[in-house]
């Protein structure tokens, strides 16, 4: 109540602000790279399975080359997803955000675990679970920033849902 009155007064009087600063002025953070990483992991799982289906267990140079490339990209993008989430969690997320979203730390840990499992396996369910966990993280991230989100089918060969900010 008192705060509201002072806030009203502030609109006219413009009280001086005192800064309770942290190290760097507002950084630029976005979970988009993490989502692209997770979608790429799904795509690589699909391509790996399609290649096996096409070539059987064959060990032609073409098969080995294609498989090696798909695996390399899957490894890289699962790691990219983990990296991007770690940065946002470590640099952007503050104690008060965890207080408001108590599931946040558990969700980040889940993404780390799923990211590793996505590297170890060629399991589409794991890749989908990774994407869903990153989507949940993205929703919380944008909520913290006071920006609405929507879920849309990804406009890629993998058309699973991804969370986008409504800007």
């Amino acid at each position: 109540m008192l705060h509201k009155i002072v806030q009203k007064l502030d609109q006219h009087a413009h009280f001086e602000s005192v800064d309770a600063h942290c190290d760097i002025p507002c950084g630029i953070y976005d979970p988009h790279h993490a989502l692209i990483g997770a979608l790429t992991v799904i795509r690589m799982v699909d391509l790996i399975n399609a290649l096996v289906k096409e070539h059987g267990q064959g060990s032609t140079a073409e098969f080995i080359n294609g498989m090696a490339r798909y695996i390399a990209v899957k490894e890289e993008h699962a790691e990219l997803t983990k990296h991007e989430i770690r940065i946002i969690w470590g640099d952007f997320i503050k104690a008060q955000h965890v207080e408001t979203y108590p599931q946040l730390n558990g969700l980040v840990h889940k993404i780390m675990q799923l990211g590793s499992k996505a590297r170890q396996t060629v399991d589409r369910e794991t890749a989908l679970a990774l994407l869903e966990a990153v989507n949940e993280f993205a929703e919380i991230f944008w909520q913290i920033k006071g920006i609405e989100t929507k879920r849309v089918p990804a406009p890629f060969p993998v058309s699973e849902e991804m969370v986008l900010p409504v800007l």
Binding site: H3, V6, A20, H21, P25, C26, Q96, G146
Partner: protein
């Protein structure tokens, strides 16, 4: 002299949050010395007007070692002790914002 000031940033969270107002008593404080634990308002070159908690009183009250509550807080770990002549006030009361403003990022 009393001044009403608005808190910006999360460096003193949860004691002071973004959007809180504080009432600061201006210098000098003949009856009210600054002690460890007090929250002071001071001018810091390159940073502007800051609000931090005094961790230690140095040089017989001529300077203060100040801290925020966050690892990333900008405080005496970055800019050294705050000299007494930089201090413009001591917080004597606060008016808390409702705890809904969660949209402050790495200030």
């Amino acid at each position: 002299m009393l001044r009403l000031l608005k808190v910006r940033g999360a460096s003193l969270w949860p004691d002071y949050r973004e959007g809180d107002y504080v009432l600061a008593a201006g210098m000098p404080f003949p009856a009210r010395k600054i002690r460890a634990g007090d929250v002071i308002v001071f001018r810091q070159p390159g940073y502007g007007t800051l609000i931090k908690r005094v961790r230690r009183v140095l040089a017989n009250g001529q300077a203060y070692d100040v801290r925020g509550t966050q690892i990333a807080s900008s405080d005496s770990r970055n800019f050294g002790p705050v000299a007494q002549d930089q201090v413009t006030g001591k917080v004597i009361a606060s008016i808390r914002a409702k705890q809904t403003s969660q949209n402050s990022q790495g200030h």
